[in-house]
Amino acid sequence: MEPLNALVSVTNFMLIPAFAYGSQLALGALGITLIFSILRFAHFAHGDTMALGTAAVIGGTFFLQAQGVSIGGLPTALLAIPFGILVMVLYLLAADRLVYKYFRKVKAKPLTFVMASLGVMFVTNGITRLFMGVSETRFEDGQRFIFTIREFREWSGLAEGMALRTAQATTIVTALIVMVVLFWFLNRTRAGKSMRAYSDNEDLALLSGINPERVVVITWTITAILLVLAGTLYGLDKGFRPFNYFQLLLPMFAAAILGGLGSPLGAIVGAYVVAFAEMGITFAWRRVLTYLMPEGMEPSTMMQLLPVDYKFAVTFAILVLVLLFRPTGIFKGKVI
């Protein structure tokens, strides 16, 4: 029995990747939950706007690289993020002006908004592919590892190794900072509180002199920031392909619903639950169990509950369970 090796192995192959993935999902799900609580619809264009934002960051990165700009060991993309955010703020506000604002004015049904977001998604998808094509683009540069498997082995003297990639570490650190800042904003600033008030009770917010259009603008701006960060971090970690971003839609929705639509804290918790469930259930536990089991009882199969191809099935199962047993989510979100 070698529990230490088991721990290192599970950390390396599952915990770190899941934590990074969960952080990316959390940033995305936060955007979904914000739009839901302020604009009150399920934003189907989320994945594709995330892709477009990342595309803008990639463009900026290539430009900076061509200029020979870099920041030590960190990915150059981090420098291009402000540019991506600017592009996406303008894009989302334009989309709001041209599309959603009218439906707000005529007080359209929520599903009309969802449908409109589908149209925006289509357009956004086309624009992204126009710039990036459909194949994978890698834009991670700088030092790839904070420490490698070999370095860890030499340092610890263990048989099992562990590595931490720069992209993963950046993701986790950035996500944590963003979450803290977001909660500070929502709970401490006037603008943040006015958003919460609007989400809580639209009519009373109006009576209190809160300007709904301003709240909407702030919401899209924050969403743009979250989108670009989530998309860039995901792209740094796993490479950029527009279709993968579309496919993030389901886990992001699942995370937001699991946490309780409209609850930011819920979105974060939900995202980590989804990420760890996806990774845990599609993870081959053989190696870890081999270290844990007594001699002679090592598992002979992969000890994988489901093949990786079915990670969406895991997400979907979570979604179904939530819908069946607790449709308001963990942190009682908006009533259904």
Binding site: R190, K193, S194, R196, A197, D200, N201, D203, L204, A205, L206, L207, S208, G209, I210
Partner: protein, 237 residues
Amino acid sequence: MSDPVLIGENMTGGYGNGPDILHDCTIAVEKGEIAVIVGPNGAGKSTAMKAVFGMLNLRQGAVRLKGNDITRLTPQARVREGMGFVPQTGNIFPSMTVEENLEMGAFIRDDDTRETMAQIYELFPILRDKRRQAAGELSGGQRQQVAVGRALMTQPTVLMLDEPTAGVSPIVMDELFDRIIEIARTGISILMVEQNARQALGIADKGYVMVQGENRYTDTGAALLADPEVRKSFLGG
């Protein structure tokens, strides 16, 4: 004769383009006084108040605040002009703390609001104890206090309350009425719609009995309580 602080004069109108609900109805309140609108269900009590607050289309009549015509202003603009309104339902931000509810009440103010908040805590001491708690978790009476406190944060000239005691126990109602009297003593005019007519007229300087969108009786609270006609028809003997 000088105008009262707030007057809705000869108001006729209804919601949107629907039929008229109010017919030549007049509601007024003087500085520091309490005016109460009572009447049977469906008499248009709340509608009259909403008309004063600009929530329905007036086809005739005018609303004046401190002598200024505000008939064409939106409700939000009337808040800026010095009207505070506490709706009957949905009058708090349930997931926000008591203190945040008060802050949102003062959203249109740019000056320091701490003093006002202190006054409100003085008026409703229980709110000070619960100021970090989500308003939605409070009891019914406490929520009403939050709602009234929120509306007071703009330091209004007139405070309008739509059935503030709906669904609270008699003890809480008495307590709430005491507070309302206290508020009026600070010089704020109170306009209130009430289901509990007898108790409400008991604290009212002025009472309006409305029937089918019209003024039926208008007098001081005490006079209305003493009027045998009013007692028989509206106060259950």
